[in-house]
């Protein structure tokens, strides 16, 4: 039983990171129907920022975290302005290919800048705490708390603020929102900024868990978060959270019963099953095609 609880926390910890990344995917898809495959690589840049801030410049961890989040946010907005805005009226496929191109650019740029080897640092939050026979690491507790706070803040932002209202309006109907006087450019940029900031937080939580940064770390993480977003219902914010935690728990469970080698296979099998059985995901609304 205690083993099960421990594994539950492992799953929640991994799931928190997936959920934060999946939120970015979902929000961007919700607003401009773009699968932003460069999203995973924004996490990579965030992780490198935090890594160098702490190891090369010896900044305080909190300051480094802030720096990583700010860098990710700026990067997300710049990518949107440079690569996606000019293509807003282009076919969706062009946009998708551009996103993949940006992803390659970031990965290879990082290899050029930082080298292809894995950079490693000491564990950020060492130690664990035991409740009876259940041992939980401080990293897990911190990760889960930070992720939950970020999600609550995001929900408040989307539901209670004017900008959030604008975001919801744009995702509902871009044309009508524009006619109602909502600035499209501003709203879309803001969405990218929020999504990328969440990725920045995710990158720091990832560093806490694995304390390694490598140029391709974002690709697998991004893909799994994408699966989480699809599972939850892409475009849906609560869906992304549920999907992220579900994938994290599933991975921990699969590994716990000794099938760790099949972990990735199981995750991607989920993607196939969801697309076959319920393409709109857990929380998504089925879209009726209008003739």
């Amino acid at each position: 039983m205690s083993l099960f609880v421990s594994q539950l926390f492992n799953g929640l910890q991994t799931g928190s990171v997936y959920a934060l990344v999946a939120l970015g995917y979902s929000m961007v898809y919700g607003i401009i129907l773009l699968l932003n495959f460069a999203h995973g690589d924004i996490i990579m840049v965030g992780a490198y920022t935090a890594f160098y801030a702490m190891t090369a410049f010896h900044l305080h961890p909190i300051l480094s975290v802030v720096l990583a989040v700010v860098t990710s946010t700026l990067l997300g907005v710049v990518i949107e302005k440079v690569a996606y805005t000019p293509l807003r009226s282009a076919p969706r496929l062009s946009l998708l290919i551009t996103a993949i191109g940006i992803s390659f650019l970031l990965e290879n740029g990082a290899q050029l800048l930082f080298g292809a080897d894995t950079k490693s640092m000491d564990t950020l939050v060492p130690g664990n705490v035991s409740f009876g026979s259940v041992t939980i690491s401080y990293t897990a507790i911190l990760t889960i708390i930070v992720a939950v706070i970020a999600m609550v803040a995001l929900t408040l932002l989307v539901q209670k603020t004017k900008l959030g209202k604008a975001m919801r309006a744009v995702s509902e109907d871009m044309g009508a929102a524009q006619l109602m006087g909502i600035s499209l450019n501003k709203t879309i940029s803001f969405t990218f900024a929020v999504g990328s900031a969440l990725a920045g937080i995710g990158s720091v939580l990832y560093l806490c868990a694995y304390s390694q940064a490598s140029p391709t770390m974002g690709s697998m993480l991004g893909l799994k978060a994408f699966v989480a977003a699809v599972l939850g219902g892409i475009g849906s914010i609560p869906g992304a959270m549920i999907g992220g935690f579900a994938i994290g728990l599933l991975e921990a469970l699969v590994a716990a019963v000794g099938l760790s080698v099949w972990k990735d296979a199981v995750v991607f099998a989920i993607l196939i099953v969801v697309l076959l059985v319920k393409p709109s995901g857990i929380m998504g609304h089925p879209v009726t095609e209008k003739v």
Binding site: L3, T14, P126, N128, S137, Y210, Q212, A252, A256, S260
Partner: protein, 422 residues
């Protein structure tokens, strides 16, 4: 692209050195085992120089001719050159100290460029030049090619560095090439050694295993560990695995922590090993971590506290008493800052083993080059019992793999410190 540029620069540098040495080649003493004070010796040239006067050298009484075959040029020359240098160093020192029973050992060197066909060509040339034993080759592929040829002639052969099973045992038939030996241990041997170490030195009763599926290295070590653990009465309480590329080991380590083993054997490479140990400590696992030589430089991949007490085995421990003299001699002779890799000391030991065999044949009063002589060399090496080299003590098992001591390296205060020979 960067590597290409480096390679090109290196090639240019070699060409330049060649042209310089071409000028002084005439001054190089012929026929003796020359030790040129350069890392990038043009061995093809030396070989041809020596083959030119080999016919008379072979006939000379009071000399024992052997061949060194290895890749001293080409892509992996950074492995071949240190091996060549260490072999030359050993026999120069041996000759300076009076040789074997007063006879000098002449090492004729041939470059196989890391290629099996070239190695066999070099061997055939060496045979014409009257050699009686072969040291080489360096890379696994070339060594297997060479071993096929030497086996037909029952020519004593020892490699310093080829770790593949197929070098001493034909993989399709399981037939042992009785004439071929190696100075390095094969990968699975480390698993066996670490199981022994866990029981005998750490007093472990229970063990968990964490390995990488689909990796020959990891599975080889793991299987050997399991077999030896069973023999030693070490109970394996949990076996966990991960797929190549995975970084998330929390779930596996939580399982291991719940079984509370005395030790965890991780036959994996340093990057994953660091992550595994971090994850284990966070999951509350306090067991000692054991690894193979893949653990080398793990100190950069987890913190000092997490690693404290972990041990791994290695074929060679830099800076220990036994190798200190060798390291000093090597650096002085070849004008380098440090011994480039573990192949140099292993090549020095390979030379020692071959010299041991030659001495036995000489003691028996046999004539170099004859079949009886070669058999005597092989028999002597085969039956050697705990002969001390600089990387450990040597005996050989039924497959001609060395049974030797390994260097145990312990993680202490964030440093990898040599602990003992085991």
């Amino acid at each position: 692209m960067k590597n290409m540029k480096k390679l090109f620069c290196f090639a240019l540098a070699v060409v330049m050195l060649l042209s310089v040495m071409a000028g002084c080649a005439a001054k190089t003493e012929q026929g003796s085992s020359t030790t040129q004070a350069s890392e990038s010796t043009a061995s093809t040239e030396t070989a041809s120089n020596e083959s030119a006067d080999a016919s008379d050298a072979a006939a000379t009484d009071g000399e024992i001719d052997i061949a060194f075959i290895g890749n001293t040029t080409g892509d992996y020359a950074q492995y071949g050159i240190p091996v060549r240098n260490a072999v030359m160093l050993y026999f120069d020192q041996l000759n300076a100290a009076g040789g074997i029973n007063g006879k000098k050992v002449v090492v004729k060197e041939y470059d196989d460029k890391g290629d099996g066909v070239e190695a066999v060509n070099a061997y055939n040339l060496a045979k014409e030049n009257g050699i009686t034993a072969v040291i080489g080759s360096v890379l696994t592929g070339a060594t297997i090619g060479l071993a096929d040829a030497t086996y037909e002639d029952n020519m004593p052969q020892i490699t310093a560095s080829a770790t593949a099973t197929g070098v001493t045992v034909m993989e399709d038939t399981g037939e042992v090439r009785t004439n071929v030996f190696r100075a390095c241990f094969i990968d699975p041997f480390q698993g066996q050694k670490m199981a022994d170490y866990a029981v005998e030195k750490l007093g472990a009763k229970t063990a968990a295993i964490f390995y990488e599926t689909g990796s020959d290295y990891s599975e080889g070590l793991k299987n050997a560990f399991v077999v030896e653990a069973e023999r030693m009465g070490l109970e394996i309480v949990d076996t966990e695995a991960f797929a190549t590329g995975d970084k998330d080991f929390k779930a596996q380590m939580t399982n291991i922590a719940s079984k509370n083993p005395d030790i965890v054997f991780c036959p994996i490479y340093y990057g994953e090993a660091g992550l595994a140990i971090q994850a284990a400590r966070q999951a509350g696992c306090t067991a000692t971590f054991l690894g193979g030589d893949g653990f080398g430089s793990v100190k950069d991949y987890a913190s000092a506290e997490e690693l404290e007490g972990s041990v791994y085995c290695s074929g060679y421990a830099p800076g220990t008493e036994d190798v200190a003299q060798f390291e000093k001699d090597y650096c002085e002779t070849f004008g380098v800052e440090e011994v480039p890799n573990m192949f140099a000391p292993l090549a020095y030991d390979a030379s020692m083993i071959m010299a041991y065999g030659l001495k036995a044949a000489e003691d028996a009063g046999l004539e170099a080059g004859t079949d009886e002589y070669k058999q005597a060399v092989i028999d002597a090496i085969k039956t050697m019992d705990g002969v001390k080299g600089i990387t450990g003590t040597y005996s050989f098992d039924s497959d001609n793999n060395p049974i030797k001591s390994v260097a145990i390296i312990e993680l202490t205060g964030g440093e990898e410190v040599f602990k003992e020979m085991f």
